[in-house]
């Protein structure tokens, strides 16, 4: 008697939990679903295909990409795009975590955005992203003609870039004029950069600023080499003279010239990459082009000087001028999507038209970059010098190295960051640090073979 009453109580508890759980309109859990949740077919209103677009941007009406999606839905009535925002603070790392769990549990993802190309490549290497080659062939379009960069792994194109973020050097006009310096021309070298930094260090502010990211360990590797850490045979390239040059440049600029804020201080203060520049504590900065839009955010970065732009310096022993690094946020189609053609049309539209809302330069070659810049920033010429910006971004001599990426690129970047940290903080010799980085990179490459 006692045993049965115990059993009944337990059963009652379990059933009550299940019952109060299914409050979403009678979800039939008993149906034998060993297949992933892809089997839940949503109600399709007659004619309209529905696709889900996952992003890490907030779902607020002021959010540019949200406005872009609304515009797309209004511009045509064959496809309706549902804007799904998985995080509200634009944190792409948290977003990727949630997206991975969604995909891992079988949820159908039609289109998703990533913060950068590496994140996209990682997912592509796991097989959850749909290659776009067949869609381009059907449209009779060569992706290289349309875009200045696409996200590729082996010979498959896995994603497109929604924006084109290019490295350049930004100057504080007031400081530049005070030091009596002219804006540098394309072809200036990192030695010139050092001279400029020295001359600009005055009045209690530094000439320049280097952030803690892996790019700043050796910018030359990003602007002039096919891959910042590896060669075509996947061997580390730390023997490349640019590494020794740049590491030593950093040390000498910090310790002898005192034209850059000490690395230890930068690490401890947890600055945003643009913070010191806009605060007037650094006169010039080698940085990707999102600095332009950031400069308009006077709430975050109050300042009143105008930004002028120049190309990123070239390495001393290179004869190529105009080399720079171009990348951007990626957009891609999920491999299990059931509306791939609709998703493809949507992402093509996004790469061409969303720039009107986000004020980013599109990666699409057909866009008239100069006109766009003048249009975006016509009310802000007191903060942005549109002429030098257009000249820098759309100089016909601009080119990118013929780059390739690996899915574990972010791990390699961390190794270089740690190498730079150790070199600056522990005062080690470059050869020691080089040996350490080479060993670590080889380990990662071997683990991923």
């Amino acid at each position: 008697m006692k045993k049965t009453s115990l059993l009944l109580t337990c059963l009652l508890l379990i059933l009550s939990i299940t019952a109060c759980g299914s409050n979403s309109g009678g979800n039939d859990n008993k149906s034998a679903t060993n297949a992933p949740a892809a089997n839940e077919k949503k109600e399709q209103p007659a004619g309209k295909e529905k696709i889900k677009f996952y992003t890490f941007k907030a779902s607020k009406p002021e959010e540019p990409i949200y406005q872009a999606v609304q515009a797309y839905n209004e511009s045509q009535d064959k496809v309706e795009v549902e804007y799904v925002s998985l995080v509200q603070n634009s944190d792409s790392t948290d977003f990727m975590k949630k997206l991975d769990i969604l995909i891992g549990s079988g949820e159908v993802v039609d289109v998703f955005m990533t913060g950068n190309e590496e994140e996209l490549l990682e997912r592509a290497s796991r097989g959850v992203v749909e290659p776009l080659n067949s869609f381009f062939e059907q449209e009779n379009v060569k992706p290289e003609d349309e875009y200045n960069k696409v996200v590729k792994l082996d010979s498959n194109i896995y994603g497109l870039l929604t924006s084109s973020t290019q490295w350049f050097t930004v100057f504080n006009r007031d400081h530049l004029e005070k030091a009596g310096l002219e804006l540098p021309e394309m072809g200036w070298t990192w030695d010139d950069f050092r001279e400029y930094a020295k001359k600009l260090t005055m009045d209690g502010h530094y000439g320049t600023y280097f952030h803690t990211w892996g790019e700043y360990a050796n910018i030359i590797a990003y602007t002039e080499r096919p891959n910042p850490q590896l060669d075509a045979n996947l061997n580390p390239i730390f023997d490349d003279p640019s590494f020794k040059y740049f590491f030593e440049l950093r040390r000498v600029m910090e310790q002898e010239d005192k034209s850059a804020e000490p690395y230890a201080d930068v690490l401890a203060s947890n600055y945003h990459v643009l913070q010191q520049f806009f605060a007037g504590n650094a006169s010039m900065l080698a940085v990707p082009s999102y600095a332009v839009r950031a400069g308009l955010n006077l709430e975050k970065f109050p300042h009143d000087f105008q930004m002028v732009y120049a190309p990123v310096p070239r390495s001393v022993d290179s004869n190529d001028i105009g080399m720079t690094n171009i990348s951007g946020a990626g957009v891609a189609i999920g491999a299990k999507s059931e509306h791939k053609q609709a998703a493809y049309d949507f992402i093509r539209w996004v790469t061409k038209e969303a720039s009107k809302y986000s004020k980013d330069i599109p990666s699409y070659k057909g866009a008239d970059g100069e006109a766009l810049i003048k249009e975006f920033f016509k009310d802000n010429t007191d903060l942005i010098d549109t002429e030098s910006l257009a000249n820098t971004l759309f100089d016909p001599r601009n080119k990118m190295p013929d780059s390739f990426s690996v899915p574990y690129g972010s791990e390699l970047k961390t190794i270089v960051e740690n190498g730079m940290s150790s070199y600056m903080l522990d005062n080690r010799s470059f050869d020691e640090v080089k040996a350490m980085m080479t060993e670590e990179v080889k380990k990662v490459v071997d683990a991923n073979k």
């Binding site: 759980g21 299914s22 509200q88 603070n89 944190d91 975050k300």
Partner: protein, 185 residues
């Protein structure tokens, strides 16, 4: 109740169940994240507090703790109650529970603190902003162009206050409980 069953009741396979429970304690939460997510989705509880409550209701760690504590309660007390005619549930409710007050208070506080500060569970299970918990909410201060540190610090202090209040109210039991249960942090 699981603690009571494992410590005081004799049944076949008690040792097996106990060792299984210990074994499951070693699996990190992250390893079971995807299956738990699928289960919650199938139950239709995704994006609701009920999902978090359900997952938080059961813990092998606390069952183990309570089991250890209850094992230290002398069997004579239970036998005396049985002699007086108390049934199974009566013994549990009127004898076991009052004696276990210190450990229950400790478990309550520790569980409350863990759940209050939990970031991963709500991150995965919640989508609507209105349902977000405090750790998730504090992320809002981390914006695209830097963290609003001053406001975040303010929010952290505000988040600690309920924990302090709880601790101060139950501190006598907690200190006893920690001494008995040997629990840290």
């Amino acid at each position: 109740m699981a603690g009571y069953a494992l410590s005081k009741l004799e049944f076949k396979g008690r040792a097996v169940v106990f060792s299984l429970m210990l074994a499951f304690m070693m699996i990190p939460e992250q390893a079971t994240l995807v299956p738990r997510y699928i289960m919650i989705k199938e139950l239709g509880l995704y994006d609701s507090h009920a999902a978090l409550i359900l997952m938080g209701m059961f813990s092998s760690y606390f069952a183990f703790l309570l089991r250890q504590f209850m094992a230290s309660i002398h069997n004579d007390l239970l036998e005396a109650a049985e002699l007086d005619g108390a049934g199974f549930f009566r013994i549990f409710w009127s004898v076991m529970v009052p004696l276990s007050r210190p450990i229950l208070a400790t478990v309550g506080i520790i569980k409350f603190i863990w759940t209050w500060n939990d970031y991963q569970g709500p991150l995965i299970m919640l989508n609507t902003t209105e349902l977000y918990t405090i750790p998730l909410g504090m992320q809002f201060f981390q914006e695209e162009f830097g963290t609003r540190i001053s406001v975040m610090m303010m929010a952290s202090v505000a988040a600690i206050i309920p924990l302090l209040v709880l601790f101060l109210t139950l501190q006598k039991q907690v200190i006893e409980g920690i001494a008995i249960g040997g629990v840290k942090g």
